[in-house]
C-alpha cells in the first residue's frame, strides 16, 4: 500500500488526508497543533471579493489570472473538490450551490458572501426580525448585530452554567446539548418574540451538531437561525470534529503535537520527514508528501527581521512581493499576503525555472502564494480545490 504523509491539519491538510485515504493511500497526518477551523465560521468560502463582491464564486475562480492558485487548480478541479466535500459531509453540515454565494450575517451584523454554509446559518439569508443575545456572552454583541440588520435586539440575562458572569460560546453550546437547558431557554425567550418571526441567535445551539436548532425553532414557534460568533467558533469546531471523524473513518493515522523539522531526499524524491517527538526524533517515511502548513498565520511561511520570507520545512522557493511588503493603509491590499510557494498543475512546488523541486511533494492550501485569501474570502476554496487536485495527481502517480 502506498504511503502518504500530510503535514498540517487545517482544512487543506484534513481534506487532503481524507481524500488520499479514500483513494487507497496509507495516510499519516502530522499536526503540530490544531488548524484554524475552530476559529472559522464553519462555512466554505470560495470567492467572496474579486475585488468586487462576487455572486458566482466558480465563475470568479475560473477568471482568476495567474499566479492566483485558482488559475492553477482550474474551475473543473475546484468544482470536483467542492462537490466531493459537500457530498462527503452531507446537507447536515453544508448546503448551497457552487455557482452562487450566500449573503449571511456576521457577528458584527454585516453581510458576508460565502459559498457553502451549515444549514443552521444558511437560513439566515434574507430578512431578520429579532436578534437574541445573552448578557453573559460577550462574543456576540446582539445590539450591534440587530442595529446593522435593522432588527430588534432581545438580550436575555441567562447564564450558560451556574452563575458565571461571562463565558465563551463553547460553554453555551455544551449547555444547549442538554434538552432541559433548551426548554428553560425557550421559556425565557418565547414571551419576547412574536410567532413566525425570523430570529437570529449566536451559533451556540449544540456543540456537536445542529439538531437543537430545529427543536428550539419549534419551542419558540419562530424561524431560528445561527450567526457565527467571534472565536472560539462553534460551527468551526463542529466542522473540525466532523472532518477528524471522517479522517479516522478513512484510516488516517494521526500524529499530533509534533512539528516536522527536517527531511531526507533520495535523488528527486523526499524519502522521509523528521519529526521532533519527545525524547528522540521519529522519521516518517512515505512515497508521497503533502505540505499543508498554511501561510504566515500558522508558520507555514515565516519572515525574518531582515524581511526575508521563507518556507521553513523544505526550504522551498517562495515568490515574495517585489516592492514593499505592506501598504500604508491598514485596510489596503498588502502585497506580503500574496507571498507563498508556486506550484505546477500537479500541485508540485516549483523553482524559478518552473520545474518541480521534488517529484513526490505536493503543496496545498495557504502555503501556495498568489492570492490574498483574507480579502478575497478565498482560502477555503483554495484549500479544498488544491487538496483535491493534489490527491488526484498522487493517485495517478501511484
Amino acid at each position: 500500500m502506498a504511503k502518504a504523509v500530510v503535514i498540517g491539519a487545517g482544512l487543506a491538510g484534513l481534506t487532503a488526508a481524507i481524500r488520499l485515504g479514500e483513494v487507497g493511500f496509507n495516510v499519516t497526518l502530522l499536526a503540530a497543533g490544531y488548524g484554524g477551523l475552530p476559529l472559522s465560521p464553519g462555512t466554505v468560502d470560495v470567492f467572496g471579493y474579486a475585488p468586487k463582491q462576487v455572486a458566482d464564486p466558480l465563475q470568479a475562480a475560473s477568471e482568476a489570472p495567474p499566479p492566483h492558485p485558482y488559475a492553477v487548480i482550474g474551475a473543473e478541479r475546484l468544482r470536483s473538490g467542492l462537490e466531493w466535500i459537500a457530498n462527503s459531509l452531507g446537507p447536515e453540515f453544508l448546503v448551497g450551490a457552487i455557482d452562487r454565494n450566500w449573503l449571511l450575517p456576521t457577528a458584527a451584523g454585516a453581510l458576508r458572501p460565502t459559498c457553502l454554509a451549515p444549514p443552521s446559518m444558511a437560513a439566515g439569508q434574507g430578512q431578520v426580525d429579532a436578534v437574541i443575545g445573552f448578557a453573559q456572552l460577550k462574543d456576540f454583541p446582539a445590539a450591534l448585530v440587530a442595529g446593522n440588520l435593522g432588527a430588534r435586539p432581545v438580550i436575555l440575562d441567562f447564564p450558560a452554567r451556574d452563575a458565571e458572569a461571562e463565558c465563551s460560546s463553547v460553554v453555551y453550546a455544551r449547555a444547549f446539548d442538554d434538552p432541559g437547558f433548551r426548554e428553560r431557554f425557550a421559556a425565557a425567550a418565547r414571551p419576547l418574540l412574536r410567532p413566525g418571526e425570523r430570529v437570529a441567535l449566536p451559533a451556540v445551539l449544540g456543540s456537536r451538531d445542529t439538531h437543537p436548532v430545529r427543536e428550539v425553532s419549534g419551542l419558540l414557534q419562530a424561524e431560528v437561525f445561527e450567526v457565527a460568533t467571534v472565536p472560539p467558533s462553534v460551527p468551526g469546531l463542529r466542522l473540525n470534529a466532523a472532518l477528524l471523524a471522517r479522517a479516522r473513518a478513512a484510516g488516517v493515522r494521526m500524529v499530533n503535537g509534533s512539528r516536522a523539522v527536517g527531511f531526507s531526499v533520495d535523488k528527486d524524491r523526499i524519502s522521509a520527514v523528521e519529526v521532533a517527538a519527545a525524547g528522540s526524533p521519529e522519521f516518517l517515511r512515505a512515497d508521497a508528501f503533502v505540505l499543508a502548513t498554511g501561510g504566515f498565520e500558522s508558520q507555514g511561511l515565516v519572515m525574518d527581521s531582515h524581511g526575508v520570507i521563507s518556507e521553513p520545512l523544505f526550504g522551498l522557493p517562495v515568490a515574495a512581493p517585489q516592492a514593499a511588503a505592506f501598504a500604508a493603509d491598514f485596510w489596503a491590499d498588502h502585497p506580503l499576503l500574496r507571498a507563498g510557494v508556486r506550484v505546477d498543475s500537479e500541485l508540485r512546488p516549483v523553482d524559478a525555472d518552473a520545474g518541480p523541486v521534488h517529484s513526490n511533494l505536493r503543496a496545498v492550501g495557504g502555503v501556495i502564494g498568489g492570492a490574498n485569501r483574507i480579502r478575497e474570502l478565498s482560502g477555503d476554496g483554495i484549500a479544498i480545490g488544491s487538496a483535491w487536485a493534489a490527491a488526484e495527481s498522487l493517485r495517478r502517480m501511484k
Binding site: T28, A32, G33, Y34, G35, G36, P38, L39, R161, D162, E164, S168, V170, R174, P231, P232, L237, R248, R253, M254, V255, N256, G257, S258, R259, V275, A276, A277, A278, G279, S280, E282, R285, S298, Q299
Partner: protein
Amino acid sequence: MTELVGHDFARASLDHCLKCTICETQCPVAAVTPLFPGPKYVGPQAERFRAGLSVDASVDYCSSCGTCTLVCPQGVQIAELNSQARAAMKAKHMPPRDRLISQTTLMGAVMTPFAPLANWALGNRPIRTVVEHTFGIHRDAPMPPAQSQSFMGWWKRRPQVQPDAPRGQVVFFHGCAGGYFEVETSKCAVEVLEFLGYEVIVPEQGCCGLAMQSNGLYRSAGAAVVKLSQSLLHGDLPIISASGSCTGMLKHEAREIMGVADEAVAEAGRRIRDIMQFLRDLLEAGELPLNFAPINKRLLYHAPCQLKSQGMGMPALDVLQLIPGLEVDESGVPCCGIAGTYGLKREKYQIAQAVGKSLFDQAKTHDLVVCDTETCRWQIRKSAGVRVEHPIMAVHQGYGLSEPGALIG
C-alpha cells in the same frame, strides 16, 4: 521560579500565544467545571502577571493532562507553564496529602508483603472514609490492588535459562507501578522482548519522580529522575518501558517542565522507547514477526494523555491492527480524568469522573479496554467496572506466549 531552566524555556514561548482560544475549547477540565477558567486564562494570560507568585489559585485545578500544549497551533508550552506556576504556588504550603501520594515506590514496598491486608483496607469503606477525612484522598478513588509478588521478586526467582539473544541486549525500565502493581504487564513485556530475540537486562532502579513532579515537588522529583537515569544507562543499550507515563517523564517532563539539566537524564530521554513504539520501530524496519494468532475480540483503545504528549502518534494502534481478528476502536477521548494523582484528591474526584465519563460509557460497551499507563487503567477499571489491560498483553497472546483468553479476557 526563576531558577528553573524549564520555566525560562516555557516562558519564552508565551509571546507566541495569539489568544486564539483553541486550547480553551479542547481542555477536558474546563469543559466540566467552572472552577477551572481554562488553560489560556491561567497560562499565557495570567503568566504575564506573575513574578514567581501566582495571583490566582485556580491554576491548581489544572490536571496537567497536556491537551492544551498538544492542540496549540503556535507551540506555546501551556501545560508546562501551568505546572510550573502550580509548583511555585504550592511550594510554601504543600499539603501533606500531596507528599504522601507521590511516594509511589514506598506505597508498593509497604503494601506488597501485606497484600491481602492492604487490599482489605483499600476495599473497606469505613477505613476509606477515615482516610478521606484525614488525608483528603477520596473514598471512591481508584487504588491499585497490592500483588503478593513484585515484578522484581518474579524476575529474581524465575528459572535462569541461557538466553538465545540474536538481537542483542535491551534494558527494561519497569517503573514503580510496573514493579509492584501492574506486575503482569511487566512480565508480558519482558517475555515478548525475549521472544523477539532480545536479552533483557533489569537493573536495580528507583522511581522516575513523576508523581512528585505533578504535585509540584520538583526538588525530590529531580533527584529521583537523575538517580533513575544513571541506573538505566548501560553501554549504549536502548531502554524499553511498558510504563507510558514514566517514559514521558524521562523523554519530556524532567527537562521541559522541571528544567533538569543533567546529561544522564538527557541521554536516557533519547534512548528510551515505549514498548509499543519499539515494536512499531521494528515493524517499520520490517523486523517484526507478523505470524500473530488470531484474537477474535472487539476492544477499546484509549491513548493516555501522557502518551499523546510524547508526539509519536499511537503506536499501540499501529501494532494491534496487525493481529488478525482483533477489532480496535479508538476512544478519541483526551483524558480519562485521573491525570496521575489528580483524580484521587477529595476536591477533584468528581471533576476527574466527569472528565472521563464519555470514556467510561464507551468502555462499558466493550469486553476489554487497552491503555498504556497504569493510573489510567486503575481509573477506567474502577469507574467503568471493566477489564483494562496494557496493549502488550494482546501482543503476548498473539505470539502464543499465553493461552488464548488467559490475559485479555
